[in-house]
């Protein structure tokens, strides 16, 4: 008779480097061949790229034009205003991290330390000083947030809402020539500053418009539905660049002769109108995912149609589509590069002017690799943060 405990347990899977290699790289002949091809590709690409970065590339073009890339022609003696605005944003970021993301240490440290880390790049002494101040501001904000999370919560949200008008006010200035904050014309805004402003304005204003269009598309009123569908399909059917051209060339035609619209404002209108159509479809997807029972329950409780939408349906629908929304925001950020084609000096437009300088002819690779890097880091950062936020809000888990 065999006793239960005399039966040996099955052999535990041995683990080890060799075993891992066999399982993951050389499982079969085909696998082995693929591994060799993959290794060759990696070797060739990494070697080529690193050789270029460290021996061939002339990075002076980036270092010498750093200010142009960041703020364009923005006057140097007024740059402190942008730094102050950034400091405010850093403070809010620190606050928000302490209040809502207390446990994600890695993201917190990375965000708060990133300005200080940027001083490792050739920025010059003045920016270095400000970058360190930014990090310190962030840490102070974090400390204050950690001290009184309950009290500060609403104030911080208010701060975020006020941050954009404040940013624009600081950038544009209020007093005429000679005052403390003289007005800086939008024709001098450029580089990453312009890219950033176009993106934020585009996102903020396209959001309510997009939600309205989505509701319009699902409305039971035929005319409102028809107009919404027509708008969405029209905008989604044409390239963004045609909308930018239309805004630059035709918007002045549509307005009364005595109205002049700033070129940058026109670009902002174009981004907003374009993004709203895409956002509307995303929101519609979220709305479709809400079960009928939610509507019925809200009606049974005596809520009106508008109340049902605002308090019951939209919050759930928007939470469902957070990943898609972030994806859309990243797309807006990347798409703003197209304003360079209609002659504005955003990051890409500045890259063109830098390459036109006689000192830096033929350095296209360096300049565009640098510009790509900025786009990549910021886009990737946004998608990374959204994944964290998703986990925190438990999207798809409830």
């Amino acid at each position: 008779m065999t006793q239960a405990n005399s039966v040996l347990p099955p052999l535990a899977e041995r683990s080890g480097v060799l075993r891992w290699l066999r399982k993951n790289l050389f499982g079969s002949w085909l696998d082995a061949i693929l591994t060799v091809i993959g290794a060759l590709i990696i070797y060739w690409a990494v070697k080529g790229f690193l050789t270029w970065v460290f021996t061939v590339a002339e990075w002076e073009v980036v270092a010498a034009n750093m200010r142009l890339f960041m703020v364009g022609q923005y006057p140097l003696e007024q740059a402190w205003r942008l730094w102050v605005a950034l400091g405010f944003l850093m403070f809010l970021t620190g606050n928000s991290l302490a209040i809502w993301a207390r446990r994600s240490y890695f993201a917190t440290i990375l965000l708060l330390a990133s300005p200080a880390l940027l001083t490792l790049f050739p920025f010059g002494d003045e920016p270095r000083k400000w970058l360190i101040i930014l990090s310190v501001t962030g840490v102070i904000g974090w400390g204050m947030g950690a001290g009184k999370p309950q009290v500060l919560g609403r104030i911080v949200i208010l701060g975020w809402i006020l941050s954009l008008p404040m940013f624009i006010l600081l950038t544009r200035g209020v007093t005429p020539e000679g005052g403390v904050m003289p007005i800086v014309g939008t024709n001098l805004w450029g580089g990453l500053l312009l890219t950033f402003l176009l993106t934020v304005v585009g996102i903020l204003f396209s959001f309510p418009l997009g939600v309205m269009l989505a509701l319009g598309r699902r409305s039971e009123l035929p005319i409102i539905r028809l107009v919404s569908v027509a708008y969405i399909e029209l905008v989604r059917g044409v390239p963004l660049i045609t909308i930018f051209f239309m805004a630059q060339l035709m918007l002045p035609l549509f307005l009364p002769p005595n109205w002049t619209v700033d070129r940058i404002l026109r670009a902002m209108v174009a981004v907003t109108l374009f993004s709203a159509a895409y956002l509307a479809e995303n929101v519609r997807g979220g709305l479709q995912a809400i079960p009928r029972g939610q509507f019925e329950a809200a009606h049974a409780l005596g809520l009106s149609g508008a109340q049902t939408m605002i308090f019951i349906i939209l919050p759930q629908a928007l939470r469902l589509i957070i990943p898609i929304l972030v994806g859309q925001f990243i797309a807006v950020f990347k798409d703003t590069a197209l304003v360079a084609i209609v002659g504005l000096f955003d990051l890409v437009g500045i890259a063109k002017t830098v390459l036109a300088q006689p000192d830096f002819l033929g350095l296209q690779r360096e300049v565009y690799v640098f510009v790509s890097l900025i786009y990549w880091v910021l886009s990737y950062g946004m998608s990374y943060l959204s994944q964290r936020l998703e986990e925190k809000l438990g999207v798809g888990k409830r």
Partner: protein, 393 residues
């Protein structure tokens, strides 16, 4: 009871939802018409100030500019309308090449992303993360200025196996030149196509009758191929003479020279779009539940059959709708050709507009054309989607 009925009958009209809805829509239309007419009046006044009336007759005028790449004879004495057609065809050719190539590369990427091979899997993942967070415009400009214009001069051309010449004037590839027997060969090809259609329907009815699943696509393709091969070798003279590019002085002659603009635009679009298609394909394959594969193996189907008959048809249902949007994106993104100087629809119409000052007319034409493209693509893809989607009872 009586009272409540009475109350119902006398709901004041400003609280009656039906009337409110109608009134709201009427107000909406009036508002829309008001804004619309305001815009129209402003536009008319603005155009009148510049002394322009809206008309499309300028399209018959002589263009007076050259286009570097044309698929049919065009010169500076041709009309604006012909210039527009050149741009249209160029956009179409970039779109078709782009859609085919990015689908192929995207499928490879999506499958590689699911590979159990660690290296291949990571490589594909790295590529996807890299591309998806870049700005397409910067990517295209980089390919143009940083790669294709940085290739060596014609005299120092890099030669790849198969007589492919890489130079900063473009990429030279061997190309077939039609000979005298080409018209006969074309007839043979048409016969092959007809035969292939016959084979397709025969196999399909056979599969319906018997319940077996023959490799319909493969046999159809093989029919065309074998007829073409027979025609190729039976004809006394080869229908196409292969012509490899040769370097003569400062230029390449012979073969086909693909301009740096075309190469930058298509390779940039393909590499960019395929990253997104890769994700679409991956999510499609992942959406097929594991039980389906296990069940099909239990029924005795082998790996290839499982893939062809069980996994792929189900994955396709998830893949087609987002794939359609990626195709539409690619077609619309081809308008960025203006950044690399490839004369596509948008570039050409921009030139026309600069010469004639007809902004409203040209933009409206371009928008309508792109809308038409989008519409045709989505109608086709929707038809395909209808055909393959799950039939629910």
């Amino acid at each position: 009871m009586q009272e409540s009925a009475q109350q119902k009958a006398t709901i004041p009209f400003w609280r009656d939802e039906r009337i409110l809805n109608i009134l709201g829509q009427v107000a909406f239309i009036i508002g829309l018409l008001f804004v619309g007419s305001l815009i129209y009046q402003n536009m008319k006044a603005g155009l009148a100030r510049q002394g322009i009336t809206l008309t499309y007759s300028f399209l018959n005028g002589i263009s007076g500019f050259d286009i570097s790449e044309t698929l049919f004879t065009y010169s500076r004495t041709s009309s604006y309308w012909q210039a527009y057609q050149v741009g249209l065809l160029n956009t179409l050719s970039v779109s078709i090449v782009g859609v085919v190539a990015s689908t192929a590369f995207g499928v490879i990427l999506g499958v590689a992303r699911l590979s159990t091979n660690f290296l291949i899997n990571r490589l594909a993942a790295f590529y996807l993360e890299l591309i998806r967070n870049l700005s397409l415009l910067v990517f295209l400009i980089f390919w143009y200025l940083g790669v294709f214009l940085k290739l060596p001069r014609v005299r120092e051309a890099v030669v790849w196996p198969g007589n492919i010449f890489l130079t900063n004037r473009g990429v030279g590839i061997p190309w077939g030149l039609p000979t005298d027997s080409y018209p006969t060969f074309r007839l043979i090809l048409i016969v092959g196509l007809v035969l292939a259609v016959v084979v397709f329907f025969v196999l399909r009815s056979y599969s319906r009758r018997t319940g077996r699943a023959p490799l319909t696509t493969l046999w159809t393709f093989l029919t065309v191929l074998s007829v073409a091969l027979i025609g190729w070798f039976v004809l006394p003279e080869k229908p196409l003479a292969f012509d490899a590019p040769v370097i003569e002085g400062l230029n390449m002659t012979g073969g086909k020279v693909l301009s740096p603009e075309f190469m930058a635009l298509t390779s940039g679009l393909v590499l960019y779009t395929s990253a997104f298609i890769g994700e679409v394909v991956r999510s499609g394959i992942l959406s097929v539940s594991k039980g389906q594969v296990e069940a099909s193996r239990a029924l005795g189907l082998n790996g290839f059959q499982t893939l062809r008959l069980i996994v792929f048809p189900q994955a396709l249902r998830v893949i087609i709708p987002p794939l359609t949007s990626q195709y539409l994106n690619l077609i619309k993104n081809s308008s960025l050709a203006i950044a690399v100087g490839y004369p596509d629809l948008f570039y050409v119409s921009n030139t026309i507009q600069n010469q004639t000052g007809r902004a409203v007319e040209m933009i409206s034409m371009v928008m309508l054309t792109y809308l038409l493209f989008s519409l045709i693509t989505s109608v086709f893809m929707n038809w395909y989607n209808q055909r393959i989607k799950l039939v629910e009872r």
